[in-house]
């Protein structure tokens, strides 16, 4: 079993030799990739440049829903430096009208999902503010931007559909002619009849209508892409921010009919992704077209304002949830009516992340005999919605955990006790859920008790009384969650491992890090298995020439997938080395022992090192594994204090106990939890994408209007590991990248609602801004008077 290396102790490394030598390299949590990132020598998508490159600028719709009556490019073409202006007609002529959508499973009554056309530039009609209608190519970015102002578009406005309720209402304006009722997919999961029966026998039913608001994932790196067409072999070199080269190639190929082997993806550093960077956006296809036609590399760097109106949004679900309980608080059934806002077009991942993912863990951590969910996707005149960190799992966990805490309040029960009473007991694992998942293992009770202890759950009443004395409202919130990590788009994950003559071991993967620290963690796995110092091992990501099959980084799957295969590859390298060493040492392979980079004949002093062997002939192995879902789980407890005079909330404590299986690098795991919990806190307290209800104009189009979490939103997060190893992969790991989002939405919202409950408030939808809380507090007070 892999040794758990906790954070900073044993397996850290000095920075590589470069012009800057770090003489006192002390070893805290220095990651391998840190050196270039703290010295400004990283390379993000916008940092790539090629000789003779041209620049693209997109003209975007300022209407939510309109017909394009005419589009005149003559004036733009005359502008100095302009080479070409592309429009939707060019996209259609090239056949660039398809868009890759993951879902291929049927919905209710066996009906397939409807995937309307999506030309790489809008043709005939625009469906959201920001829909690109033309692309200007010029010899400088400034010239392209100036000329874009000269493109004349005449629109005939159509009525905009902004909310899902409007979209699904009879007589609503239709976004796509081949998708009646703006309903591309109607999906169901569970047993409707069983749930009906369960509700008939219930002693109590708790109901909530919940909004999981639309948010902008907003990785700090701006989306950027450069394409160079190579006529010699008809290939396209695409320099772009990605989550994985294979997923990008598959999608680009689908949209353009260019064979995958003619698409070469280049990426080094990616500045955050969160699901938003997994798609082959239409702009990339247009850059391919432009580079081929103009014979030059074409580069495009988005602005943040464009990003808000063209990078996919996340969440955007409206859910009616009902939980049925018996007299003793045992759960009998759960019914969900789930409407997911897909925006103007289907994104690559949104339809899956808003149907299959929430349905896979619809029972949460509880034994609920009857489950039924109906999931409807709706088109609206807004930016397309896709996976965002957690991809439907935070949404379903929010629904269940809000319902459970609400039920506890209605039944005047302790929220932890109601959970305890309904947990899937440890002996019931592997647990087959009513919606078809098989949860491998979990120590739900152990996780809960640990969290209650570190959060001093029992001492809350006293702390609340103290806050009350100061005139403040105090609340405590809990969530206990489980999620299925992503199984991936490709059937297996492969790793190539090579040992060079200088003794350096290099691992190759196609799982692209965007902050997760693969270069450190994966290298630790290899170094640990080979018994080598970390300095001897390095990881290379996204080297397409290695031809590896493997998944992108997404769905919390990289360590579990590619990371665990690093261990298998290292074991395979030892086996390969052993038979070569046997020849060198002139003994049977069974007589060769390996330790710390060297092979030794048993009972003899004859020895040969990995490097010496590699000098004689290249050492290289490829290992692979098919790794399905793991089921990380955890309990988060949040405590808040609200100032009633201003409605401001302070998170006074946040405790996270997570079972992420075996932990390779605690500092990285903790960092993932910090980041994800803060994104959850951002969604609960401040973030929301807002559209004008009548016109569909985007009101939160920049960081001036869209409230991003800033330093100080959460002062501290106490992260405790509670590892129950998974047998699913060679490391015993479970995914951890998204669990912080999954658990934090409900924990924080439950804490705020708990604080307001003494005033009579039962529910508020996110974001719980000071203004919203102040109004809720004021109206509650008025109601009491």
């Amino acid at each position: 079993m892999f040794h758990c290396v906790r954070g900073s102790n044993s397996n850290t490394r000095t920075f590589p030799d470069t012009a800057i030598v770090e003489p006192h390299a002390s070893h805290h949590s220095n990651r391998v990739e840190d050196f270039r990132l703290i010295t400004g020598t990283g390379k993000y998508a916008a940092d790539w440049n090629l000789p003779g490159q041209l620049y693209a600028w997109f003209v975007r719709s300022d209407r939510a829903h309109a017909e394009i009556v005419s589009l005149k490019v003559e004036r733009a073409l005359k502008h100095l430096g302009v080479k070409r202006v592309f429009t939707g007609e060019d996209a259609v002529r090239a056949g660039y009208t398809k868009f890759f959508v993951i879902v291929n499973y049927p919905g209710r009554g066996g009906q397939p999902i409807k995937k309307p056309a999506r030309p790489s530039l809008a043709a005939g009609r625009v469906r959201h503010v920001g829909d690109a209608v033309a692309m200007v190519i010029a010899d400088s970015a400034a010239a392209a931007q100036d000329a874009a102002e000269l493109v004349e578009v005449e629109y005939r406005d159509l009525p905009a559909v902004v909310s899902v309720e409007e979209a699904l209402a009879p007589g609503a304006p239709q976004l796509h002619d081949d998708v009646p009722g703006n309903l591309p997919f109607d999906y169901e999961s569970g047993n409707e009849e069983a749930v009906k029966a369960a509700f008939q026998n219930a002693a109590h039913v708790t109901k909530l209508r919940l909004e999981v608001s639309r948010v902008a994932p907003s990785p700090l790196e701006l989306r950027a892409c450069m394409v160079q067409y190579e006529p010699k072999d008809e290939s396209y070199h695409v320099y772009v921010c990605i989550q994985g080269i294979n997923m990008m190639r598959k999608q680009l190929s689908f949209a353009t009919d260019v064979p995958e082997d003619k698409l070469v993806i280049h990426a080094q550093d990616v500045g955050g992704s969160f699901g938003q960077r997994s798609a082959a956006y239409p702009e990339y296809c247009m850059l391919m077209l432009a580079s081929k036609e103009l014979g030059k590399p074409v580069k495009w760097v988005s602005t943040r304002s464009e990003g808000f109106m063209s990078d996919t949004h996340g969440r955007a679900n409206t859910i009616q949830g009902e939980l049925a309980l018996d007299r003793d608080g045992k759960f009998l059934g759960l019914r969900l009516d789930w409407i997911a806002d897909m925006g103007g077009y289907l994104s690559a991942t949104g339809s899956a992340s808003h149907t299959r993912n929430p349905s896979a863990c619809m029972t949460g951590v509880y034994r609920i005999p009857a489950l039924y969910g109906r999931f409807r996707l709706a088109f609206t005149n807004t930016v397309p919605v896709a996976a965002y960190r957690g991809a439907g799992r935070p949404d379903i966990a929010y629904v269940i955990e809000r319902l459970v805490s609400q039920a506890a309040a209605e039944l005047k029960m302790d929220a932890a006790e109601l959970r305890r009473r309904n947990f899937i007991p440890r002996e019931a694992f592997p647990y087959k859920t009513p919606t078809g998942s098989t949860y491998e293992n979990a120590d739900l009770r152990g996780v809960l008790e640990k969290a209650l202890k570190v959060a001093d759950w029992k001492g809350f009443a006293k702390r609340r009384a103290q806050s009350q004395k100061k005139g403040k409202l105090r609340g405590i919130g809990i969530s206990t969650v489980i999620e299925n990590t992503g199984a991936g788009l490709f059937p297996k994950d492969q790793i190539t491992l090579e040992c060079s003559a200088d003794g350096t071991v290099t691992a190759y993967t196609v799982a692209q890090s965007s902050g997760q620290g693969h270069e450190t963690t994966f290298a630790m796995v290899v170094a640990d298995t080979l018994g080598l110092p970390l300095e001897r091992v390095r990881l290379r990501e996204s080297v397409q020439s290695k031809g590896l099959i493997g998944n992108h980084t997404g769905g919390s799957r990289s360590l579990v997938g590619a990371g665990s295969v690093c261990k298998l590859a290292a074991q395979k390298l030892i086996d390969q080395g052993r038979s070569l060493a046997a020849q060198e040492l002139q003994v049977e392979p069974s007589q060769v022992e390996y330790a710390h980079g060297a092979f030794q004949a048993r009972g003899s002093k004859k020895k040969i090192g990995l490097a010496e062997l590699a000098k004689k002939q290249p050492l290289s192995v490829m290992a692979e594994a098919t790794v399905g879902s793991t089921f990380p789980n955890g309990c988060h407890v949040a405590e808040v204090e609200i100032e009633p005079e201003t409605g401001t909330t302070r998170v006074v404590s946040y405790n996270a106990v997570d079972d992420a299986g075996n932990v390779v690098n605690h500092a990285v795991v903790e960092g993932q939890v910090h980041g994800a919990v803060t994104q959850g806190a951002g969604q609960i307290f401040c973030e929301k994408v807002v559209y004008d209800r009548d016109t569909g104009q985007l009101l939160t189009g920049s960081f001036m209007d869209y409230c991003m979490p800033r330093a100080g939103l959460l002062r501290a997060i106490n992260v405790e590991d509670h590892p129950l190893p998974s047998a699913n992969n060679a490391l015993g790991a479970k995914g951890v990248g998204e669990s912080g989002c999954t658990a934090s939405l409900a924990a924080l919202a439950n804490a705020v609602v708990d604080a307001l409950r003494p005033l009579g408030a039962q529910h508020l939808d996110m974001p719980l801004t000071p203004a919203k809380l102040w109004h809720a507090i004021q109206s509650a007070k008025k109601g009491k008077n």
């Binding site: 220095n30 990651r31 990739e33 943040r304 902050g515 803060t678 001036m704 979490p709 330093a711 939103l713």
Partner: protein
């Protein structure tokens, strides 16, 4: 077009640039110093923070010609004499970065912040970082890194 002469990381550079060229674009495109990042267009994110005449400035909110004759320090010039700056070290040691995109700006802002206030309280750090956004780390380790930086700069024990 305007002629500008700017000393960047100790080296004098003279260029003819369009009047509207932002300092951030000048550094990235004219000088190839791509360590200065651009993450927004409303001067909110702070990814482009550099020092102009010793003061931390968002280089997207300043024209290159406004920096004519000035001394500019970017992330690429922060390490001196083959040694990382203590703030660079502290960010790595405290795991105060993940994807690294906001990091150059965070580090340059921190160096500026600690010049003004060598021993800041947590409140002062949070206030001082209000103009810098990070989407990965959740800020907790960044605040730790700033505290550690302050300690290192004051010559405290590592």
């Amino acid at each position: 077009m305007a002629k500008v002469e700017i000393k960047v990381n100790g080296v004098r550079h003279a260029r003819n640039v369009e009047d509207r060229t932002l300092l951030a674009n000048f550094l990235r495109e004219e000088l190839g110093l791509t360590g200065t990042h651009v993450g927004c267009d409303t001067s909110q994110c702070g990814c482009c923070t550099v020092h102009v005449n010793g003061r931390a400035v968002k280089s997207c909110s300043m024209l290159a010609i406004q920096a004519n004759g000035a001394e500019v320090l970017t992330i690429e010039g922060l390490a001196k004499n083959g040694k990382l700056h203590p703030v660079q070290r502290a960010f790595s040691e405290c795991h105060g970065l993940q994807c690294g995109f906001c990091t150059p700006g965070m580090i340059m802002a921190t160096v500026g912040l600690l010049k003004d206030q060598p021993n800041p309280t947590e409140e002062e750090i949070i206030h001082g970082l209000e103009g810098n956004l990070c989407r990965c780390t959740g800020y907790i380790n960044i605040v730790k890194a700033v505290k550690r930086s302050a300690k290192l700069l004051r010559g405290g024990k590592r």
